[in-house]
Symmetry: C2
Subunit: 428 residues, 2 copies
Amino acid sequence: MSHTTEEQQFEEYVASLGQAAKKAAQQLCILSTGQKNQWLLESARLISENHGPIIEANAKDLEKAKQDGKDDAFIDRLTIGEKLLNGLVEQLNQVAQLPDPVGSISQLNTQPSGIKVGKMRMPIGVITMIYESRPNVTVEAAALAIKSGNAIILRGGSDAIHSNTILAKLLNEAAVNVGITQGAIQLVEQLDRKVVGLLLQAKDYIDVVIPRGGKGLVSLVDNLASVPVIKHLDGICHTYIDDSADLEKAVSIAVNAKTHRYGVCNAMETLLVNKAIAKTVFEKLLPEYQAKEVELRCCPAAYALAQAQGVAAVEATEDDWATEYLAPILSIKLVEDMQEAIEHIAAYGSNHTEVIVTENYTRAQHFLRAVDAASVMVNASSRFADGFEYGLGAEIGISTNKLHVRGPVGLEGLTTEKYVVYGQGETR
Amino acid sequence: MSHTTEEQQFEEYVASLGQAAKKAAQQLCILSTGQKNQWLLESARLISENHGPIIEANAKDLEKAKQDGKDDAFIDRLTIGEKLLNGLVEQLNQVAQLPDPVGSISQLNTQPSGIKVGKMRMPIGVITMIYESRPNVTVEAAALAIKSGNAIILRGGSDAIHSNTILAKLLNEAAVNVGITQGAIQLVEQLDRKVVGLLLQAKDYIDVVIPRGGKGLVSLVDNLASVPVIKHLDGICHTYIDDSADLEKAVSIAVNAKTHRYGVCNAMETLLVNKAIAKTVFEKLLPEYQAKEVELRCCPAAYALAQAQGVAAVEATEDDWATEYLAPILSIKLVEDMQEAIEHIAAYGSNHTEVIVTENYTRAQHFLRAVDAASVMVNASSRFADGFEYGLGAEIGISTNKLHVRGPVGLEGLTTEKYVVYGQGETR
């Protein structure tokens, strides 16, 4: 009985991380904007001055990853070069310039009893970030945590451990240099997966978990977590071209939404076209997809139209409507009217980003309200569903949750509101 | 293999409730304010016209409860009389008069790309309410669900089944009378507890669960649920009397917070007093508690002071600081300064409602920001933490969650925001 088991050791480790984070959170929530900005700028300075050691640490990770036979895309995401470091420094400086969401009070009104009641925006508390072997996430997530006043526990992919360790060390050194409490940024150094499992259950210490990575990682986190998770799983985004759409807008939006980037969650995966306008749209649109070698998977009516126009296509299966291709593949369906489009989206969409192209005022308004998604757009490419494009200044991820925060998550998404009451001795 | 098991039957039942609710939710989110108000007013009318049948159904529940030997408090909560029915009718009429939160758009700004981005407030979708044998909750919860455009699944205590059934029937009849879709309000009629367990896991259908009742019910729901839960468990509320407090305000707030009502979550359970002012405060305050027969459980320093003043008190144990008495009992602790009070609250509080009494500007501001609770107050009784007192117009419960909604939950707490984008053909 004198030996602690491995399980106990992991539990103690998670408790020590959690306690340190909670303690730090109590200090972080009262930091002034100036102190947080100093910390960000000092972090930027330390990273600029330590390109050499960072790239050296990264080389160890890269060597091991290559030995382990990781593929080029993996190596690419793991690699830290001068350009990436300059980008991180710029991001830290940019986050310092963003408005501080913490402490702002809204809706402050006097009630009949005489008390003034408002809502004060505050840090959530303790955030845990779980991500793949992309060391840039370590700095990007820490920067947003610092500015929003949250303590953060970082669990990056184990293949990036040397890179993450030096980056986290520099961020903590920056805190010390500007006189800020320890424990705000903690890197999980015990890489056993059981520790991740325990973190995801640590409701007493951790307020929210944000997974960042592929769908496998996100759904694993979501399934294991009893702590709330800010996440999106799929991005099965639709564009519906209404019969009263402007033809040019329809074509350029449909081309952009599919082909601007293929591997992103806000790319269009299914195109819905009102059958009354389908022939005209297809004549302009399908050649553009052909030129970009986009594979078209069509409902029978769309298939017939494509055939008639001599455009290569295949018939879509039921699975196609529920697939996020993340590739130069597009499913296409003709619909009778907007209502059928809305119902298709409700049945197959992933509540991420949905678009209508129309010149009809009433239908535009109806679509915006009736479609249940984190972002609903009229006459714009779904590729705009992005924190920077929405003016958030930064983005830590995208949420398709219904509670707390939906869509791109910036600094405000890392905060919560509490009621504040200004009284003058009132009693009930 | 030709018989379905009980388990399967329950699963099918929950799926049928969930599917009907989801289908209804798609219609509810596009109802106009006028349609929702008509429904509320028609519900009020049907309840006014059916006092007889409602009271008859309630009599069946009461008879059984009495046979089962339920205590007076239970019977009291279960009983529907004329007064309660008139109150419900008034509440339905009041909710009809509240502003409709759905469809409002905030923060609509034009971005550099030309797109206009804003946030539209929408119903959450499908709410499940789990509550004890208080049939009034059936109507109150349904009224807020109707106005906020949510479908609701109601699982009231089994002892109120006859009362709940007729009330739900009238609410649905009202929907039919004003031409609104079915499935918006569903009462769980299969009362096996396994059905509750399945509902709490039904993430595909249910967006949020709100338990309403004693701590036993709430923690049971919280432990079993994988669906998000809006809840509070404890209300261990503190009042800190600072050394620069106004004596009269301090005394009247401390008396009101403890003695206005004992069994409520926003009653004070622990009083923290700066030791520099304790003697003066005690001289005015303790006799008031004595007169109301409040038992005082004191830290050694407070105990000594009470003794010296000839006021009966007992010494507090460690458990007292972590106890929600819901009774005429108060724990009292003297502290060196505000910082010690804040640390005591962080250690023992339940993040519900915390109060400072002070005339010091800087300390008031610091306390408001540093204390992590759903409501933080200066110079007001914690008893004000209430949806009606905060001007929400209605209250479905109180949340001490950090995400989504904190404090009293009204109509806005039953909604969520999605991004809406108004474009003119923009692409990236």
